[in-house]
């Protein structure tokens, strides 16, 4: 990785900034060797990681150290890129949007400040991983469950700040956040919600502020560095039932959505229902070359053979119900009757009761795992993935329209189709996994073209992405175009008012401070 300094910063000025940081955190926590820069690069980068190269990293251990670093960043005009644990795989890992930024790694701030089983919430620092929190709950034998993403190696708060999703009743993770502590771009310290009153007892319980509620303005955001937040947790249910339906055909997703979404909206189903296509199961069975040995997309006839051989439906619905057994049974009868109107085969039923063992990789029970990342081995070599993730209304018209559109674009680029729809309520999140070998330049070039085509075609049809990789943050922000990109203009007005030197996360989600706006054209994939 080439050494790229922050814009307009001389080597001497850069060294002075690092020396100042070292006086705050200690020299061992300023990480500025070539190996360090490599370690903070995007390990799943589509092609070279250099467009998003950091110049160094600094790792504070306390909120006071964060405040001191932010003040010094202003003094030395050195931009920071805050990360909680830096495991945002598929979206840029720990790497900054603007090359030359210094990664502000909050991984050492990993205290579980509060864990309250009575009101079912935790107060966390950003460095706490899903494993850390899960294990602490088990050690204390508390009746609390997590909602986890596919990669539980990462930060609980970081995932929620990036609007990550899980597959439990608490699956819209940003909605579980309640009450933030934030270091502002000038080094000031703010507490949101009821925490704005010193010593307030309801900080992490009442989700609104007196006056404007700013909490979510600090998610997918460059307006401050969140140093702690409250997080609501699911009370452990006494029982749970998984109903597994294999859905035979591609177009069946239409009736599946029209059957389940109303149950979710009514509250009968409280889980975020994850519906992956068949390839989601195949990636755990081996490598692509074991099933199709050509670089071209796996053809329809071979897909049909594989589904038959491995007894897979085109889609799978693993719907989970939670609560008292009598209630779960009653809900299950309603779900099964609704599905039976379209599907003759009854679901497989898997009961769980308090005290029984859990499936070691069951994300629908909040068990943390990194096993879903095994998909990076599917293509072989230095395998990697990106997610193309638009959000659509949870109706058959919108879901089938999105499916056909993205399938055609993906097929036109001769790439395997691997998608999921997660019913989150009135909307479904459609994640299209695009897998590639980082050492195959032609493959990467094709994936980049495909990604651009997907963004353009999807936006033209009236849908946007909820999250994206560094290299497309601006491209996606460009698609939010109402009234001459009024949302971006508002974001940038606020950014410039709060962060005149643009030191916090310039370019995050396509929002650029005036100090670095000229760099917005760089680093686009």
């Amino acid at each position: 990785m080439q050494l790229k300094l922050p814009p307009r910063t001389s080597p001497k000025q850069f060294d002075a900034a690092l020396a100042a940081f070292a006086r705050v955190v200690g020299k061992d926590w300023v990480l500025a060797s070539d190996a360090d820069r490599d370690a903070y690069s995007d390990i799943y980068a589509p092609g070279s990681a250099e467009p998003w190269a950091s110049s160094a990293a600094v790792a504070p251990a306390s909120v006071d150290e964060v405040r001191a670093i932010v003040r010094l960043a202003n003094e030395h005009k050195v931009p920071l890129w805050p990360v909680s644990r830096g495991k945002n795989l598929g979206y840029g890992t720990a790497a900054p949007r603007m090359a030359g930024s210094v990664v502000l790694d909050l991984g050492r701030m990993n205290k579980i400040i509060e864990l309250d089983a009575r009101l079912a919430y935790a107060v966390l620092e950003p460095g706490v991983s899903f494993f850390d929190l899960y294990e602490e709950i088990q050690r204390q034998k508390l009746p609390l469950w997590l909602s986890v993403p596919g990669n539980a190696w990462g930060s609980v708060l970081g995932n929620a700040f990036e609007h990550g999703i899980g597959y439990t009743p608490y699956g819209l993770h940003a909605r579980n956040l309640c009450g933030f502590e934030v270091v502002m771009p000038d080094g000031d310290l703010v507490r949101t919600g009821m925490g704005a009153m010193a010593g307030n007892h309801a900080w992490h319980l009442h989700p609104l502020s007196y006056g404007p509620t700013l909490d979510l303005a600090f998610t997918q955001s460059s307006l401050g560095v969140v140093t702690r937040a409250g997080l609501w947790l699911q009370p452990a249910p006494p029982s749970s039932l998984e109903l597994v339906f294999d859905i035979p055909n591609e177009d069946d997703i239409g009736w599946v959505i029209d059957t389940i979404a109303p149950l979710k909206i009514s509250g009968l189903v409280d889980q975020n229902v994850f519906i992956p296509s068949w390839l989601g199961k195949m990636v755990l069975k081996g490598q692509r070359a074991d099933f199709w040995d050509k670089p071209s997309a796996i053809p329809e006839w071979r897909v049909a053979e594989l589904l038959k051989q491995y007894k897979l439906g085109y889609w799978q619905v693993a719907l989970r119900l939670y609560g008292d057994e009598t209630v779960v049974k009653a809900k299950a009868d309603i779900v099964k009757a609704a599905m039976a109107r379209h599907l003759a085969a009854p679901p497989a039923e898997h009961w769980w009761h308090e005290g029984e063992p859990m499936n070691a990789i069951d994300t629908t029970m909040g068990v943390p795992s990194a096993v879903p990342l095994q998909m990076s081995d599917w293509v072989g070599g230095r395998g990697a993935h990106m997610g193309f993730s638009p959000v659509v209304p949870a109706t058959s018209e919108h879901v089938l329209g999105q499916l056909k559109r993205s399938r055609k674009i993906i097929a036109d680029h001769d790439v395997d189709f691997y998608a999921s729809f997660t019913i989150g309520g009135r909307f479904a999140t459609n994640i299209n996994m695009l897998m590639y070998d980082r050492d195959q330049p032609a493959q990467i070039d094709n994936i980049k073209k495909l990604f651009n085509a997907l963004i353009a075609g999807t936006a033209q049809a009236g849908y946007g992405e909820y999250r994206t990789h560094l290299g497309w943050m601006d491209t996606v922000m460009d698609t939010y175009d109402f009234n001459g990109h009024a949302l971006r203009r508002l974001n940038e007005k606020i950014k410039d008012a709060l962060d005149p030197n643009g030191v916090i996360a310039p370019g995050k989600q396509g929002v650029w401070p005036s100090a670095y706006r000229a760099h917005a054209k760089e680093g686009r994939a």
């Binding site: 370690a39 790792a59 890992t93 050492r108 899960y134 005290g355 096993v371 095994q374 081995d377």
Partner: protein, 130 residues
């Protein structure tokens, strides 16, 4: 063949039995706590550090163990050698190189993930006796 590999992988997991109390979780979901002490100090417990910092993936049924299982079986090595702690052919320098540079699907680790002093302890533990 695939079925066989999956079967072997599962034999590493304790058989699921219904007990009055919850049984122990698979090791990678209940790692050892990080050993106490200054993260920059040399000579801390390499085994405990390995289990805490690398256990996400490299204890039984972790992602790294699953992927290594396939690689080890493919070269005729016994399944238990998918667990790094069971390997007798690793060297400390090799461990350091893989941790800092990554390997295949394994991402490189930063010095916040694992400090140089911690890596030295882990490398000595995994490369012990060689």
């Amino acid at each position: 063949m695939k079925r066989l590999i999956l079967g072997v992988a599962l034999t590493l997991v304790p058989a699921a039995v219904v007990l009055a109390d919850p049984p122990p979780l698979p090791p990678y979901q209940m790692r050892a706590s990080a050993p106490a002490g200054d993260r920059l100090a040399v000579g801390r417990d390499g085994k405990a550090l390995f289990e805490n910092h690398c256990g996400y993936c490299h204890l039984t049924f972790g992602m790294g163990t699953n992927l290594l299982m396939k690689q080890r079986l493919a070269i005729g090595a016994p399944p238990q050698s998918a667990l790094l702690a069971n390997r007798d052919d690793l060297t400390a320098d090799y461990v350091k190189g893989v941790v800092r540079m990554g390997k295949g699907a394994m991402p490189q680790q930063t010095r916040v993930d694992l400090t140089d002093a911690e890596l030295a302890s882990v490398a000595a533990y995994l490369g012990r006796g060689k």
